[in-house]
Symmetry: C2
Subunit: 493 residues, 2 copies
Amino acid sequence: MTDDTTENTDFRPEARAPRGFADKRARDLRAERAILEAVSAVYERYGFEALDTGAFEYADALGKFLPDSDRPNEGVFALQDDDDQWMALRYDLTAPLARFTAQNWETLPKPFRRYAFGPVWRNEKPGPGRFRQFIQCDADTVGSARPEADAEIIAMAVEGLEAAGLPRGAAVLKINNRKLLNGLLTAAGADSAGQKLAVLRAVDKLDRLGVDGVRLLLGEGRLDESGDFTKGAGLKGKAIDSVLDFVQAGAGGRSATLDNIAKVVAGSAEGDEGLAELSRIDAALTSLGIADDQAFIDPSIVRGLEYYTGAVFEAELLLSTTDEKGNKVSFGSIGGGGRYDDLVARFTGNVTPATGFSFGVSRLAAALRAAGREPGGAARGPVVVITFDQAHMPEYFSVVGQLRAAGIPAEVYLGTSGMKPQMKYADRRNAPAVVMLGGDEIAAGTVTIKDLDAGRMAAEGLADNAAWKAERPGQQTIPRDQLVAAVRKIIGG
Amino acid sequence: MTDDTTENTDFRPEARAPRGFADKRARDLRAERAILEAVSAVYERYGFEALDTGAFEYADALGKFLPDSDRPNEGVFALQDDDDQWMALRYDLTAPLARFTAQNWETLPKPFRRYAFGPVWRNEKPGPGRFRQFIQCDADTVGSARPEADAEIIAMAVEGLEAAGLPRGAAVLKINNRKLLNGLLTAAGADSAGQKLAVLRAVDKLDRLGVDGVRLLLGEGRLDESGDFTKGAGLKGKAIDSVLDFVQAGAGGRSATLDNIAKVVAGSAEGDEGLAELSRIDAALTSLGIADDQAFIDPSIVRGLEYYTGAVFEAELLLSTTDEKGNKVSFGSIGGGGRYDDLVARFTGNVTPATGFSFGVSRLAAALRAAGREPGGAARGPVVVITFDQAHMPEYFSVVGQLRAAGIPAEVYLGTSGMKPQMKYADRRNAPAVVMLGGDEIAAGTVTIKDLDAGRMAAEGLADNAAWKAERPGQQTIPRDQLVAAVRKIIGG
């Protein structure tokens, strides 16, 4: 390798990526691609068609202008086009879908069922594990108000996550409906938008604060340990009891939960509507073969976004790992979604029923890996053919050609270093084996193979008995026409 | 579908994408994914590892600051981060590779062989067929000065394009080396950078202006038909003859061309170096099984970018199509690359030899399609189960479940329209068939299948004989357990 120092003393930029943007190497990409391929196959089997929109949308289409500002929200990456219009990088895949659907409504098959995946960008403060670009995967049905459309999204999410590598029992879809709590609050006279939002915020803290903490937040307010007071939603005793009864109505089985909910929300028109929708979702899920342990109704699920108008879903990972102190760490929510009927109306003025589910691909890949389930299986490097002599290049290339023709990744080392650095190179590439062709081998029509996998396993104490060693000679010299078979034995192909 | 007009009279953004950004539907995405999957498999077999960097780089790392400007070049999409540093969206995949390599040099396996694909962004004036975001696919070897590294890139490009759907003979890699012309010009005394650039520009017009036009541009200059005068490179008679001999030295076979070139460039050190490199590329290509019709040496190839320092490659499509007037339209160049030894040095000050090849994925997909070779094969819609009655939803879902379990894309129509719009929906989805379950079928345990593919073929006059009609009944009622087999017969699965 040439290593001459140039005489150029001009400005030299520092080689670094902007904060919050990750360089992804082969292992990460392999995992993400395996997940996306498996999930796409499921979504296409459900009749959803692929769509990809550009990275930019006009900022007004994203709805990301602050009320009293002449610039888009700081949460997006925005710039002015040369006609002075503000464009911003998409921060999710739903806003571009709403724009696309509104733009093409007349010619689209309706309901419009689409899935999409790709990067989204958030202009937020980066930190450890917090990126400003990440991959999302979404599926939505636009133009169907039927609860069966929600059920299909849920069933597809269940099947998609299983295909991505989460065995049954490793994840669950939790379902709720915004109309239930809304109806209950309206019946209790707590029907201002602000009060409803305060109730949702309180309910959302059930996991963290428990029933007693939420009770305080539903009422006058709560003083935390640090002495800070959070003002409550201002509900009265009976309404508080109803809300707490509701959020605790989950009973494992979907039918039993529906019975419990019916007792609490009975009598409010909106609550009854929500209940009827959930019942139809339950029936469709049953028809689609989705059991109670794969998707259940959990009235405590909130989902942050304000735009949900009916059913909401959350996918929770039941996998866990342990931290450095040996404590169990749960991965929690991996995605979610729900029914949003107002997004397309922003453009057209016409309410257009829609429902969808979104999950974070990089997040799922990380969780699967932490739980010991590498998506796409372990990555393998190429077989490396060691370079001894420029004059023998044709022989080296002939050997890699043989391996590649058999579908085995292989390469000739093309640096200029000696034997030891070449072995180190092969190790860094995670090569299963190196192939050596010296003058003797070439004269004899043989090759020498060194089994690096065997070396790695021995180093990990995984292969320390005589039978195994006999089976896996660390190094062997064989006729060239036995090369492919010998390498296959090493890589187990 | 709800279609209530909301009473919201707030601002309604227009539903449109920013200029130059395309919405891609299923067919385009299927084609691009098929190409990328096939090419990735080839590149991995050659031992190249996948890499993806973030969309943004610091503008100084991209080298996209104009000399006397405090803003990045207008050709990129740039914005200031909250620490006031300018970031810009990547405009190719080479600049991020140079940054990544410089940043991680110590820990990378060397030579570093990586491939990458993904969107790049160019802030240029959009127009018909001219986009500001498009997909590139690159492979590069960083840290090897060996001509064999160039040969591998060329061989891999040949094999990759064949895997992407270009049969042998539909594309060719043309190879040249910058050092040949440079050496020739130095020997002729024409060695200023400006004069060399003018010669390259003149040679690049050989296709369009022919030998006589180029001769004028190599000398004093050329007056075109419109009366505009283009100043020439200012070469003298003998030098002009040498350049014209050189660019016409191509002889089909690589060996014969090398012999021709040797006669023209003999005696210049740089020319001899270029010739030696090309000879080693030729030898390695032969070892790798790449024949003269797949990759040949063409001394007239220039490749625009100024950063190439040695070998240059261009992939030319030999496919053609006909325009509306029946004239033959060639697709021309689909990609290219070459050796660039100075990009990493921008960061580190150390010259680092590198070589690579890049092609436009959307452009290749469009060319393959225009030539009648749809990448990934024809896209198929899902089988659509017609919805007659909400009460029968469980039956409909049971039937789609049966089809999906057999791997056949299928869906229940989830709109609320009647029979005719549902048939229209199925047609828009390009459904091969619709399945109907009325009360009679449900009672009898049967399904009725309507073969939409047969209808389409009949409409195109492709299926107008009695034998075919007997084989493909337009509509049939069969027991439910024969459904999968009947649909398979229609889709040919």
